[in-house]
């Protein structure tokens, strides 16, 4: 029974982990601009992310080492510095965007401009990390993430046409705006296959003291949790396609996305959107900030852990303290949150190869995963994902310039 409970809890938390500002923004933009035509990108990204998350968890449960530590130890610091620096830069921008998401949610409800909210939000994120422990971060906040199921309910209420939904599952090119279409496809994949998720998840498995007996939980959480998260993303896309697209509204700004639930739920739909955006981004901001502290501390072998008192891991807690306030400055200066989100998603795509390629080696190294090495299915998926990552990395920036 307690195993079942743990699985249920894990699934709920990973819905929150899967969704972030990028997933919501890219899905809303995709649906409003191209109707159901980009459903395939969410499905493809979900499959990749399920496998990679499962591997991150398995690596940590069996080797007792997080993904970042394992990468540094196996490939040496001179290699690890590459993904480390890349990830810190991307985390910085994404954290700014997540804080921006929370600020926009507050602006929608209060009318007070998002810039004013940046520092209070950053302070709240910091306070929770400073005072809280891992299970508060993991369970408390992500439980609230269940409000996002509102998008799924709205999908059913709007009764989408099933055959046209199905046709979106197969990649096709649109008649016009091809560069914009490809740019959003890359952004969706960048938003879903986000490296911070893997680093965070594997560090979390260590915080929760996972061992081999948790491998089944790991599999269920990765598969079902990420699967549910993806259903919510699809919900956002479908609702945007049914509500905004027929009117010719293309989401260029969060104010436009805020209207997608009012048609179905009236005033509460507006509040529900703001709550979903705010909670999801707040949860993700906690994760991204913590993730940065994890990878830096693990890079240098410092003591780390959200369950430790700040003074037991002084350098670790200093990193998340400084980082969150620096990232909040991006919002204080008034950078457009949606543009920042899309840019960080494209940049994520650029750094994917250096993050994902080491999985292939680590997950087949007996020293780390013993008898739990990858089977041929996992290896095929990872090889495919690496190939995909290289393609995304090459096309992301040209597409950003041409179609973003």
């Amino acid at each position: 029974m307690s195993k079942l409970l743990e699985i249920a809890l894990g699934i709920i938390t990973s819905i929150g982990g899967f969704l972030d500002v990028g997933a919501i923004a890219t899905a809303a933009e995709a649906g409003s601009s191209f109707k159901f035509q980009l459903i395939w990108a969410i499905l493809l990204g979900t499959v990749c992310v399920i496998f990679l998350v499962e591997m991150s968890g398995r690596l940590a449960a069996v080797s007792k080492h997080s993904l970042a530590s394992a990468m540094r130890e196996r490939f040496g610091f001179n290699f690890y510095i590459l993904p480390l620096v890349a990830e810190i830069i991307v985390d910085f921008l994404i954290l700014g965007a997540e804080i921006g998401g929370v600020c926009i949610a507050l602006q929608l409800v209060t009318g007070i401009s998002f810039q004013w909210w940046a520092l209070p939000v950053a302070f709240t994120v910091w306070l929770l990390l400073w005072k809280g422990n891992f299970s508060i971060i993991e369970n408390g906040v992500s439980f609230l993430g269940l409000v996002t199921l509102g998008f799924v309910v709205a999908t059913f209420k709007l009764r989408p046409d099933l055959p046209s939904l199905g046709s979106g599952a197969i990649p096709t090119l649109p008649q016009q705006d091809i560069t914009h279409y490809l740019f959003i496809a890359v952004s969706i994949l960048g938003a879903l296959i986000s490296p911070y998720l893997f680093y965070f998840y594997s560090s979390g498995a260590i915080e929760d003291k996972w061992d081999e007996s948790h491998l089944n939980i790991n599999r269920a959480v990765a598969g079902l949790g990420m699967g549910f998260g993806s259903v919510v993303s699809l919900g956002v896309l479908i609702v945007a396609a049914l509500v905004l697209n027929p009117r010719g509204i293309q989401v260029d700004s969060y104010e436009q996305a805020a209207l997608i639930l009012t048609q179905t739920f009236g005033y509460w739909g507006f509040i529900l959107f703001a709550a979903s955006l705010g909670i999801v981004c707040f949860g993700a901001a906690l994760e991204v900030n913590l993730d940065t502290a994890y990878i830096v501390a693990q890079a240098f072998g410092w003591n780390w852990g959200e369950n430790l008192h700040p003074q037991e891991a002084a350098r670790f807690s200093s990193v998340y303290t400084i980082f969150v306030f620096l990232a909040a400055l991006l919002m204080v200066f008034g950078i457009d949150p949606l543009q920042l989100t899309l840019f960080s998603m494209a940049l994520t795509a650029v750094i994917l190869p250096v993050v994902i390629t080491p999985f292939l080696v680590l997950m087949n190294d007996q020293e780390y995963v013993g008898n739990y090495r990858n089977g041929w299915i996992s290896n095929s998926v990872i090889i495919f994902t690496i190939a995909l990552a290289f393609v995304l990395a090459i096309v992301a920036i040209p597409l950003e310039i041409l179609g973003g």
Binding site: Q107, L108, V109, T110, G111, Q176, D177, I178, T179, L182, R247, G248, I249, Q250, D252, S253, E255, Q256, A258, L259, T262, G266, Y267, G269, F270, A387, F390, V391, I394, V395, P398, L399, L402, G403
Partner: protein
């Protein structure tokens, strides 16, 4: 596999890069942006009438629509369309001031005009 994907995506890039440059496409793109924001304003107006959104949000979003449309208007060279967009701007300003003064009944008229302008814009884009 990898090289195949690479060449095809590169080819696609080159092809689309050439296509984007035409002035007609550029005009359509600008019109789409204007239409998108005008439609946003229409939806805000409707939602406000039905009491589905807060006042502050409605005003802010209308102001944003006006600003975005004003910016896009500079790229329009066709005078006939330019005049139409001036008209659009007036209507939006009217709606915004009605919301500010909480004129629930007065808003119906400019909202109706906005709907018509949006239909015209839509027709222009689909031409």
């Amino acid at each position: 596999m990898k090289s195949w994907l690479f060449t095809s995506s590169l080819l696609l890039l080159v092809l689309t890069a050439c296509r984007q440059a035409s002035p007609h496409d550029q005009q359509i793109k600008t019109l789409k942006t204007i239409h998108s924001w005008a439609a946003t304003a229409e939806m805000v107006g409707e939602a406000w009438t039905n009491g589905q959104i807060p006042n502050q949000y409605a005003q802010q979003t209308l102001a944003k629509s006006q600003a975005e449309i004003a910016q896009a208007r500079n790229e329009i060279t066709d005078t006939a369309i330019s005049v139409q967009i001036q008209q659009l701007d007036k209507v939006l300003a009217q709606i915004n001031s009605d919301i500010q003064q909480q004129h629930q009944s007065a808003i119906a008229e400019p909202l109706h005009q906005l709907t018509q302008i949006n239909q015209q814009l839509d027709a222009l884009i689909k031409q």
